[in-house]
């Protein structure tokens, strides 16, 4: 599904190149649940951002579903976001002015999904995540864990093939974190959704079936588990 070839990323500062990623070559297949691990500043997030096309690599090529997407126009990128990629953020990034229901609905609106279809899909998601009672609340009326649930529901609404999650439990207490990770595992197993997450925690990484460890911008280890 994702193929990275010789990805390099550096920031030039007064002629000195600060490398964030070096010679990263890897492939993520459909149905995998990958955790990217490593110490702070190793380049985990940058790698995930490149996968999400939020950042462009300095060198190297990126293929998404066999298609070269290394340099893509904004419109094309957004088409991909609409149909194939779901994002989950550490800070949830829900829109404060929208209710839970509206937050989940937004991607469907952009995708021009019919109103009936929207209703059934959102109802389904609310039901599945046990947040039906919260659908008319605003984000600031929810706990962190609940907000992240909404964040994930929103990412799933457009029925993406892959979810990119940047420390999805970073701001959560352990009980809530476990809940979220269980949910990811279930989505991966039962719905076949490919998941790539960046995490600090060994325990969270354990929920997936592959761990990529990055240190100083280089892949140190690529381990299949479970």
């Amino acid at each position: 599904m994702i193929k990275l070839e010789n990805i390099e990323k550096y920031y030039a500062n007064k002629g000195v190149k600060n490398y964030v990623l070096r010679h990263v070559t890897t492939q993520i297949n459909k149905g995998e649940f990958v955790s990217i691990m490593g110490p702070s500043g190793a380049g985990k997030s940058t790698l995930l951002n490149i996968m999400g096309m939020l950042e462009e690599p300095t060198y190297g090529s990126y293929f998404f579903n066999e298609e070269d997407v290394t340099h893509l126009g904004e419109r094309k990128k957004i088409e991909l976001y609409r149909n194939h990629i779901g994002f989950v953020f550490q800070a949830y990034h829900l829109i404060d002015e929208m209710t839970v229901y509206e937050n989940i609905e937004a991607p469907l609106l952009y995708k021009n999904v019919s109103s009936g279809e929207r209703k059934s899909r959102i109802a389904d998601l609310l039901d599945r995540f046990n947040i039906v009672a919260k659908k008319d609340l605003f984000p600031n009326q929810l706990s962190g864990g609940q907000q992240q649930l909404v964040g994930i529901a929103r990412a799933l609404a457009a029925q993406p093939a892959i979810i990119l999650a940047d420390e999805p439990t970073g701001n959560l207490q352990s009980v809530q974190a476990e809940e979220i990770m269980e949910l990811f595992k279930k989505l991966n197993r039962e719905d076949g959704i490919t998941i790539v997450q960046v995490t600090h925690s060994e325990k969270n990484a354990g929920y997936g079936n592959r761990i990529i460890t990055i240190e100083d911008g280089v892949i140190k280890e690529d381990l299949k588990i479970g």
């Binding site: 939020l54 957004i78 976001y81 800070a91 990034h93 829109i95 929103r154």
Partner: protein, 789 residues
């Protein structure tokens, strides 16, 4: 989607209620001002537009070396019609020079403006009696019509359109005439009248040396006006030469004619001044600027909120929103506010309209069919939405998601610069208005306090239809008037100060020049309290004074270069006048025009008629004297009879200040509004900024900053901006006000105080506004600000 965006926009606005209200309120005020300006602009630029001949009507005016005039000799009209087939119609119009009283039983009408027109002119100017234009029979008959309003006064119950018999002048004179019907008088036209007298042909006995008609041409479509103008000039010179008027061939070279279109007659006639036009343009620019300042408030607030909105943009983009969808969303938000503002503005405008109408002496209204406003408003709405929304729409929607979502996003340096320059721009304009206002104030104050050279107080001007060209005829009238207690002196003249004088050609010291002339009677200078410079005033002791004595003013002395004027000869109107006195210049025509060289004579055969009676009455006895005059008037002046009408000269003179006083009011409103809207914007802006910086403020306090230091920190950047705004606007205001001042022949030196004062006022207002807002943030406990996150 649209519905959702709308809903979110509403929630967003509601959340920032205070700021939203300020924004909408400021814009509504600016829009109300703009709506009024637009109404006024449309009104002023559409005089006579209802005339079907609007585009083809021209006035024939004459250029003399010294001045331009719309008055032309009547025979010239005939000549034009005979020579130029491209001229469709030629019409003659003459205004009335005195008031006429018309009576029907107990109903009295004082007409101040009777238009005398020929049939062609009536057709050209679209003057249609109700019941249609009827050709008078023969050359002598005149058909007299009254305006509908005048008709109502004389015949309140009249329903039909039948002719009526009325009395002219005092009832004891027994003069009657026929009113043929009524005509609608359109106040929105250059041709206002109380009545119209229509005849077949005018000026039959006139010669080329009598310029007392206005010639109107209706051209056939597609005529080259410039070439026609040249041809008419050639014709005019040829006609003058043929009729032996206006001097030699060489002298005629200095005389030419011009064609002035009907469309420029109201605002910028060639023979007249274009001050109304300039004022109109100034007012329009003011309206636009005020609106722009209010729009800037929107942009600035959008910039202030950018950090927060940016996150929304980033999230929406990764959820699949295209940029144009975000642009639409932002524009809808702004549009809703602008829409609310327009509704408010219409209400405001409606409330202010009565005072506006009084100020500009117009009858404007918002709610009438066919008002241009109905298509202008949607246009304005779209334009201000675009102006106010351009920043959020273009800049915010262009944010890259990654920058925003990483969490440490701050708006770029450019938007910081943009934000500050917009504030500077707002304040610059406000300062320009303020300085202008202060300078206008000083000039008007100067005009009110300055010595005019004559005293208009206590002088009463009496309207009269008797002609007193012969001093002997006025003497008995004067005697009777002076018997009334309190009346100090009485005189009669051809013209009153505050109005135009006559112009004629006089020769003295070998120089020929066109100068002003005024035909006067004894006691003229005494009544007006005019100062003597050399020689003497007119006096009954000198028999020659009624024959050929003249008094000139200082300007005339300079004009002719006469060193010792007393006893010198000045020739005009076929009389060799002997100069007996020189008076100091006095400002009869306000402060805009320089005092004209003027000659005052008792014998004045070729000027106007002496009909303007002026009395000097002691202030304390004014009421009694006026009452006695009214009671005795039919005895004193039989022709006027019971119709005693008077005006105070100082009020008449005050009318010369009218336009400038309007300008003063407009600038007062503009300065007030711009300052208010700019401060309002600043208030909202600072409120938002301090909310954002509340954490920074808390941290600084923990690090040991005193309240004063924090206030100073936040104030300083605004202080600098306002200072820069002042520096920018000073030269601008200097140039503009200098230009305005130069329209006055008598004016103040450029004062420094307004510049200083506006700087002090704006800086103070800014510091107060900023401090009120920051005070809250400063007073808050640091813990509260730092607890979350």
């Amino acid at each position: 989607m649209f519905k959702l965006n709308l809903k979110i926009a509403l929630r967003n606005l509601w959340k920032n209620k205070g700021i939203t209200a300020i924004n909408i309120g400021g814009l509504a005020i600016a829009l109300a001002a703009f709506v009024l300006v637009m109404l006024y602009f449309t009104y002023e630029t559409s005089f006579d537009k209802e005339n079907p001949n609007y585009d083809h009507v021209y006035i024939v005016g004459i250029n003399y070396p010294e001045f331009k005039t719309d008055y032309a000799p009547a025979p010239f009209a005939v000549a034009i019609k005979q020579n130029f087939p491209e001229v469709d119609r030629v019409g003659l119009v003459k205004g009335s020079s005195f008031e006429l009283t018309i009576k029907n039983g107990g109903n009295t009408l004082f007409t101040s403006k009777i238009l005398t027109v020929d049939c062609n002119a009536a057709k050209i100017l679209n003057i249609n009696p109700s019941g249609g234009l009827v050709k008078p029979s023969g050359d002598a008959e005149r058909l007299n019509y009254l305006s509908n309003e005048s008709m109502k006064i004389l015949f309140p119950d009249k329903k039909d359109n039948k002719p009526e018999i009325v009395g002219f002048g005092a009832s004891n004179l027994g003069i009657t005439g026929i009113i043929a019907g009524s005509i609608k008088n359109d106040p929105h036209s250059n041709f206002n009248f109380d009545g119209v007298s229509i005849s077949n042909k005018l000026g039959n006995r006139d010669n080329y040396d009598m310029n007392d008609y206005t010639i109107y041409l209706q051209l056939k479509p597609g005529v080259n006006v410039l070439s026609l103008e040249r041809k008419i000039t050639d014709l005019y010179r040829a006609e003058l030469l043929k009729n032996k008027v206006g001097g030699s061939k060489d002298e005629l070279k200095g005389i030419s004619t011009f064609l002035d279109p009907l469309s420029s007659l109201h605002l910028k006639p060639k023979a007249g001044n274009n001050t109304p036009y300039k004022i109109l343009i100034a007012i329009s620019v003011l309206g636009l600027l005020i609106l722009l300042i209010a729009c800037i408030n929107f942009t600035n607030l959008s910039i202030a909120q950018a950090t927060k909105r940016a996150k929304e943009v980033g999230v929406k983009k990764v959820m699949g929103a295209f940029r144009f969808q975000l642009i639409t969303q932002f524009l809808i938000e702004i549009f809703m506010q602008c829409f609310a503002a327009i509704i408010l503005a219409l209400i405001l405008a409606e409330l202010v309209l009565p005072s506006f109408n009084t100020l500009f002496q117009v009858q404007l209204s918002i709610w009438h069919l066919g008002n241009d406003l109905f298509w202008q408003l949607p246009l304005i709405l779209s334009v201000i939405t675009l102006i106010a929304g351009i920043y959020p729409a273009i800049i915010l929607s262009g944010f890259k998601p990654i920058l925003v979502l990483k969490g440490n996003f701050s708006t770029s340096k450019q938007s910081y610069v943009l934000r500050n320059s917009l504030i500077v721009f707002q304040f610059s304009i406000a300062v320009v208005f303020m300085i202008s206002l202060l300078i206008i104030n000083s000039q008007l104050k100067y005009m009110r306090s300055q010595d005019l050279g004559f005293t208009a107080d206590e002088v009463v001007y009496i309207k009269n239809i008797s002609i007193f060209n012969d001093p002997l005829k006025f003497e008995p009238v004067r005697e009777k008037i002076l018997k009334i207690p309190g009346i100090k002196s009485a005189t009669v003249a051809t013209f009153v100060p505050s109005g135009q004088n006559g112009v004629n050609s006089y020769v003295a010291n070998g120089i020929k020049a066109n100068i002003d002339f005024v035909g006067v009677d004894f006691d003229y200078f005494e009544t007006l309290d005019i100062k003597l410079k050399k020689g003497r005033f007119f006096s009954r002791e000198f028999k020659t004074d009624t024959a050929n004595s003249a008094v000139i003013n200082e300007s005339a002395m300079v004009k002719y270069g006469i060193k010792n004027p007393i006893g010198q000869t000045i020739r005009g109107c076929n009389i060799d006048y002997k100069i007996v006195g020189v008076v100091k210049d006095f400002k009869t025509q306000g402060f805009e025009n320089i005092v004209q060289p003027t000659i005052y004579t008792i014998k004045e055969p070729c000027g106007g008629n002496k009909m303007q009676i002026m009395l000097k009455i002691e202030q304390k006895m004014m009421a009694g004297a006026l009452a006695t005059l009214k009671a005795q008037w039919s005895d004193i002046n039989k022709q006027d009879g019971e119709d005693f009408r008077y005006l105070f000269l100082d009020e008449m003179y005050g009318k010369l200040f009218k336009k400038q006083e309007q300008l003063q009011t407009v600038f007062f409103a503009a300065a007030l509004l711009t300052i208010f809207i700019a401060i309002l914007g600043l208030f909202a802006f600072v409120k938002y900024i301090t909310n954002v910086r509340i954490k920074e403020i808390a941290l600084r306090k923990i690090l040991g900053a005193s309240n004063f230091q924090i206030m100073k920190l936040i104030n300083s950047s605004f202080f600098v901006m306002v200072l820069i705004a002042n520096l920018i606007s000073w030269p601008l205001a200097y140039v503009l006000t200098k230009k305005w001042l130069s329209t006055f022949a008598y004016r103040i030196d450029m004062p420094v105080l307004p510049f200083m004062l506006s700087a002090v006022v704006t800086v103070l207002l800014t510091i107060i506004t900023v401090s009120i807002q920051t005070n809250k943030a400063v007073k808050a406990k640091p813990v509260d600000a730092l607890k979350y996150e």
